[in-house]
Symmetry: C2
Subunit: 341 residues, 2 copies
């Protein structure tokens, strides 16, 4: 069982997941190259993964081939679904059991296609899988937040090359989400407007950081980007919850997401990246911390944040929380806008 | 001139340092290997760097060879010393000029020795250079904080292989420091004790996470370590300010620092790492934000934090602020304690 440990000096929780079993020599090993013959995410290797949780497949039984998207439990989960939190003190510290869910969404059966190469219809399938899993995990009252993210490339933390994303449900609101929720709530309390809607209006009027505008979505480089070619994909009309999108909206989002990934791949020659889906926490969990939820439908604006991993997070960044970005967001937006895809 | 930009959604400042000049193709390039012939930090190449700010050399004029430690301005500074902040608003954002100092401490003239290989006397020279620069930069009232850090290895962000550390003076208290200062102050306000002194007492009594104890220093793995083999080096007796250490104390610290680096190098086969010196901000700057300073001599405890860069910061970490650590701090401490150095 992994542990969640609290640092009273840093004010953060850390997941100590020793079942992933790293001894000193393990860190000498390079990331797996993901040879097709042994890749557990490939067609025909369905028995090499834990049993599937969800799949989109035209016909056939679970865990058989012939699927388009497949969701499985992570074989080496950071958090486990069984048990109680058992939160307790330990000296000046705090500790609780590592309870949560850790799932993998395999985006395509084809080992050689990454998400940017999929058709909008295929990406829509992936988004449907995301939505399905969000809605299902929300029924578990122990989970305060769900984090949907994708690591692409070994420098971005991917240990398998086959295209996949991950969904982790955590028993606490993470610090990044807590800050975002607080900012949105306070801005709304003062102005009765969504801060993200205001930012989008400002950015569309300026145009300097707009990469691409669609009818219902916009791709921007953030004004205070921490990293070169950082990107955000926003729905233009206010909406707090990704999981409430209907199929037609997911299909539109798939077009925008593909374009974001393809422009990045073209300009930077397939860079490593992470993207994270930021969406409102589940309705049911509102009971826990009422101060978060009074106006969330109006104050929170779901979106996708993408961070290419071109530069290292070094001593200065880790030691201060300040980031040094050598590429201006305006230049990055221009390069991405002008790319021929 | 670089810019400091404020993100009103993330509540952080970012340094946009475009003079470092990164266009898309620049990110294809691998880090420099630091060939000896062209290394600007080597003996005889003193004219390849900006003029030195400080050096320890037995005899001879500035910028001549025959030095032991040399401090120079960074050739590609993230922040520049000349000018005013000119803080101003821009839409929902804020921006100010990138004012600060960015110096490089070359730790040895020998290209092939890293800090762990230096003698305690040579490391003492490096620490004397750190102290000298801290005390000098504190005279500039524009700087709120100084960050002394070392990036070792390209995966830890080092662009030159030759052993060096960096000192950046910033015109704002960084978020990591602000949190640490606040925690220490609040704990002291409640208990009239230093939180770090209390943690050290708990850790010495437990022993589980102690790597090595000296007369006046102790090396620990933090209970809630974010990364495998994370380390902290603390003075056992309360002291808030590294820059007030005398020569004898620096010589004792050099012995402890060398041992920390050497144990890490031995167990993990010369891993990439960052270390950051956490010390109290300068006395003069107390005027700016009085709430930070009322009890800092009693509540703040200087120390060194070291983070090996064995695992990637991936989508989950970036998207949540939670870290997943696959090696327990107790196991890491045992491996480091038992290493034969």
């Amino acid at each position: 069982m992994s542990e969640l440990r609290w640092d009273p000096l840093k004010l953060h929780w850390v997941i100590i997941a020793t079942e992933r079993g790293r001894r000193p020599r393990d860190f000498q090993v390079e990331p797996e190259t993901g040879e097709v013959t042994s890749c557990p995410f490939c067609y025909g290797n369905e028995d090499k993964t834990p049993g599937e949780i969800f799949a989109i497949r035209p016909a056939g039984p679970p865990n058989s081939p012939n699927w388009r998207v497949r969701v499985i439990p992570n074989k080496y989960p950071a958090l486990r679904i069984e048990g109680g939190l058992d939160s307790r003190g330990y000296g000046l510290y705090d500790v609780m059991n590592g309870i949560g869910a850790h799932e993998v969404i395999v985006e395509t059966p084809d080992h050689h296609r990454e998400m940017a190469d999929l058709t909008p219809a295929e990406i829509t399938d992936v988004l449907v899988a995301y939505r399905t899993r969000f809605l299902d995990l929300r029924r578990d009252m122990r989970f305060r937040y769900m984090v949907l993210f994708k690591n692409h490339g070994s420098r971005a933390g991917a240990t398998l090359a086959h295209a996949h994303s991950q969904l982790i449900a955590v028993p606490l609101t993470p610090p990044v989400a807590a800050t975002e929720l607080k900012i949105c709530r306070e801005y709304y309390a003062n102005k009765e407007r969504c801060i993200v809607c205001d930012l989008i209006a400002f950015e569309l009027a300026s145009g300097d950081r707009v990469v691409r505008e669609f009818t219902n979505f916009v791709i921007l480089t953030p004004y205070a980007s921490c990293f070169p070619f950082e990107l955000r994909l926003y729905p233009k009309r206010h909406a707090h919850d990704f999981a409430q999108l209907d199929d037609a909206q997911l299909a539109e989002l798939a077009v925008a997401l593909k374009e974001m990934l393809l422009r990045l791949k073209t300009v930077l020659k397939d860079p490593p990246f992470n993207f994270i889906l930021h969406t409102a926490p589940p309705q049911q969990q509102r009971l826990g911390k009422p101060e978060y939820w009074s106006s969330i439908e109006y104050d929170y604006h779901w979106h996708i944040e993408l961070v290419p991993r071109l530069t290292q997070i070094a001593g200065f960044e880790w030691g201060t929380g300040f980031y040094i970005n050598p590429t201006s967001p305006e230049d990055a937006a221009a390069f991405l806008r002008e790319a021929e895809i």
